[in-house]
Symmetry: C2
Subunit: 228 residues, 2 copies
């Protein structure tokens, strides 16, 4: 009962076990409930185990987020695997982000929760920013390919389209997490398709929505002086 010592020797595997326990605690109670004792209890161990594998709490959290990110990237992506290229592939990438499954919902909940601590920790913030930059690059390539295939009209820079698409899914994730019953998987997919239809459509008369720009300027952004 005492010394079962499972999976001896594989240091990294044990660290992964710890990370999983961290995820479970985070998924349940968020970062406010993330304590060393809670993690230890979650995996039926002592805090001594945690400190044996991680120098401190911050390192533990950073590793858990890193592994979660890597796991998400390497996980079988049901939609992307069967999609071809171009627009269909962009669609698949977007769908694979959304909380369409319970597992993905839990992961996304952790991810959204991490934004609070990340925004106050420059190192974590930089890592997050880099992750999103990477994802944007991938999307931009699919957009470029879609344009080459004639699925998307030229005129918009792939980077801009990718940034917009990423914003869209990210915001949708948040909405879903707060109102799961209002956003079943079916509706999430429909919303993505609606969005993609807007991309595929030819651009409207340029400047149509900005007709009243003359007097109002760029939306009256005259107060204060920019972000940061």
């Amino acid at each position: 009962m005492s010394g079962m010592t499972p999976a001896r020797g594989d240091h990294e595997a044990r660290r992964a076990d710890v990370s999983e326990a961290v995820w479970r605690v985070l998924a349940e109670g968020g970062f406010g409930a993330l304590t060393l004792r809670a993690v230890a209890a979650e995996m039926g161990a002592s805090t001594g185990l945690l400190t044996h594998y991680f120098p401190n709490k911050r390192a533990l959290v950073r590793h858990a987020l890193e592994v979660l990110d890597r796991r998400s990237a390497e996980r079988p992506r049901p939609a992307a695997e069967r999609a071809g290229a171009g627009l269909a592939m962009l669609r698949a990438v977007l769908l694979d982000i959304l909380p369409l499954s319970a597992q993905s919902a839990a992961d996304n909940r952790i991810w959204v929760g991490s934004w609070d601590v990340a925004l106050s920790d420059p190192e974590l913030a930089a890592e997050h920013a880099e992750r999103y930059r990477r994802a944007r690059r991938v999307m931009a390539e699919h957009v470029a390919e879609a344009r080459r295939l004639g699925e998307l009209p030229p005129g918009r820079a792939p980077q801009e389209v990718a940034a917009a698409a990423q914003s869209f899914v990210l915001g949708l994730v948040v909405q879903v997490l707060f109102a799961p019953q209002e956003y079943p998987a079916q509706r999430q997919i429909e919303l993505v398709d609606l969005y993609l239809d807007g991309l595929a459509a030819a651009p409207a008369r340029p400047g149509a929505t900005r007709a009243a720009d003359g007097p109002a300027g760029p939306a009256g952004v005259r107060d204060s002086g920019g972000v940061r």
Copy 2:
């Protein structure tokens, strides 16, 4: 120095003062740094003052978020005030959400940060969900009006368009907070206009992006069983 008793009689004003101190602490260090002592120090008072006006920490946080929400709603909305109706109004509403000013960036940072604790606190989560629902309703009305004015093509339900637009801005907010230098105010506005152009454009051949649906089904959402 001891008994200056400022602003006597206005109990509610004092609670607002406390809330402002809460905002300042949250904007700086997020919810992880939100302690009664930090708030008290921020306003040069004792923790006893806080407990005098609020029964406990949770009540203090909830009130601060509530007031922040109300303040944001009642704040002069530079864009919305000058916008007419329909699509221009929808555009204004979206722009007023974005962190185009330093003040709005600070508010948005608090808001994003609150998602972690809200997702683990059913009462807070319900309040958040209700807020977003309200905002969606407003957007949907502008969408309906735009459709009446012929600025938007029929075919999409205003509710769906509103949900999509809200997701878009919300996600953009997050992106901006993590990479402010990549998303200056100018670019945020351009992205919104790009998005609105996609709405205004006539829908593409229906089902174009879902061409390969046959074998792949609805994006291969076959693993696991739905959210929640």
